[in-house]
Amino acid sequence: MDAFNTSMPLPFSYTFTITSSSCTTSTDTISNPWMDSRIWSKLPQRLLDRVIAFLPPPAFFRARSVCKRWYGLLFSSSFLELYMQISPRHHWFLFFKHKALKSYIYRNTTPSGGNGDNRTNFVGYLFDPYDIAWYRLSFNSVPSGFSPASSSGGLVCWVSDEAGTKTLILCNPLVGSLSQLPPTLRPRLFPSIGLTVSPTSIDVAVAGDDLISPYAVKNLSTESFHIDAGGFYSIWGSTSSLPRLCSLESGRMVYVDGKFYCMNYSPFSVLAYDIAANNWFKIQAPMRRFLRSPSLVESRGKLNLVAAVEKSKLNVPKSLRLWGLQACGTTWVEIERMPLQLYMQFAEVEGGNGFDCVGHGEFIVIMIRGSDRALLFDICRKRWQWIPPCPYLVSGSDNNEGEAELHGLAYEPRLATPVISLLDHLTLPFPSFNG
């Protein structure tokens, strides 16, 4: 493949930031020490490649302009193999501006007049919690009529907005690849989508009310999709019923250790779907009568529940707490509580609107509904901090609609997601082995 391939659209937008070059703060000498080129120019090639594989995606994409060889590494299978082996996991976040989804139910024909909804250029805002930096990602290849639903293993899942059988698209925004899943079998309205991607398998679960009849009580069912490198696949073959009297309210599902979890409302509980066993079960939520805005997040391989606690009758101060689900799968233990002073500040900003949380690895992001303010919590270092507002929305060209509410996904940027090639085989009616 041509090392210098200008025809491949690069994912990130370039903004002229004149003052970026004047970023010479005191941290510069620490982060930019003088290095002796007589020593470092002797680094063996393979070791250099390893260092490049270590770079987080923004640095990687910039390093590509060093020379043609570095530019071409993204297409080199030996480099990508090394990358897949050693690249550290980056627990980042991807935010999107909230689209009023409900308007899509009542739109019965092709959108003719709507200008804001006919988005061909979906934009995401990438947030790096390690260095507190924002980037802007364009999703040029995603067709209109889709919304972001979930993310795992470097892939972002988009779901069709229209009521009916749902089409899902998996996209790796860094390389611009798109793969479509076969549509779900049952027509649905606003399902909850769960996605988990590993280097060798893809699992998707779609749960929520299906449109069996406009007059019938909501029939809550699930369909799941599985494909793996071992050759096993199930194209929406596994279906399961949710426990009675569930109200999923189209949230997203969080994957932890072989199960998808989502919040069940009124009264609060947690629904868990065991993928292998294809069945659902309920877990009681901690302090369920006193929770407000509960959300589920994955943290370092465990399931956590984040919610505000308000016990107006008892003398318990309002707080925001984090519980972890224990190994037994039924009991919760409180892990963390937001410092009281910070919570008072938080409650003031939030003003009772509620909040949503997303998280993975060591980070949890708490997004306040109706605003673009968000709080970042580092579980390992026990550090809470307000996330600086996204500069692309504050003063940039994207802030033309006025609504600044952001919805987030826990996203891990990955340069390569070879597992997506498994989906290519599904488009063939009869699998051929021409190689």
């Binding site: 990130f12 910039r62 050693i86």
Partner: protein, 194 residues
């Protein structure tokens, strides 16, 4: 209770069998304990010999393979100097029980291993290349992270100068690339700047 149990056993067993059994136990435990403290002998390029516990030495896949070939003899490392090797072994001793999870080592770099890499650039270079040639993945992982932290903040041109890489883009191609790649935002920590 234990006393009664042993009394019962003793009373039920043939004394000769018991003696044989205890001798076997002594022999097995000697083998087991000697296996634990089996020592590898490694000779560095400057002819210095290191005696290192096998478990520590075999954190290096290269040494592991060579030990299989040498079977008990002295393992020669022809391109590792004793000062560097001493440091590497020191690191290995600290991490012998830490397992394979590379993510763990990233965290450890920030905590207990932070000072390990605060060394001269020449020493750091040798630590990196030695970890590479000895194939000690966790050490290499940390070393690379340290190196990335050091070059973080360097412009593309600075990187080229540091690594003696020739810029083989034409002016046109370079502008094209520059237009498409992304930059960091005002006031935020930067990665490699354009």
């Amino acid at each position: 209770m234990a006393f009664t149990w042993s009394k019962t056993i003793y009373m039920g067993l043939d004394p000769i069998f018991l003696t044989e059994l205890s001798i076997s136990i002594i022999i097995f435990s000697t083998i087991a304990s000697s296996k634990k403290s089996r020592v590898s002998k490694i000779k560095t390029a400057d002819n210095e010999i290191f005696e290192v516990e096998e478990a520590v030495a075999t954190m290096s896949n290269t040494i592991k393979i060579m030990a299989g070939d040498c079977s008990g003899g002295v393992i020669p490392l022809n391109n590792v100097h004793s000062t560097i090797f001493a440091r590497v072994i020191e690191w290995c001793k600290k991490h012998v029980d830490d397992g394979e999870d590379l993510e763990y080592y990233k965290g450890a770099l920030k905590n207990c291993d932070a000072t390990f890499f605060e060394v001269d650039q020449a020493v750091l270079y040798h630590l990196l290349t030695t970890a590479n040639s000895l194939d000690i993945k966790p050490l290499l992982h940390q070393g690379c992270q340290r190196f990335v932290d050091m070059i973080n903040g360097k412009t593309v041109e600075e990187i080229r100068q540091l690594l003696h890489i020739k810029n083989d883009f034409t002016n046109e191609e370079e502008d094209e690339t520059r237009k498409k790649l992304w930059s960091s935002v005002v006031g935020m920590n930067s990665f490699i700047l354009l």
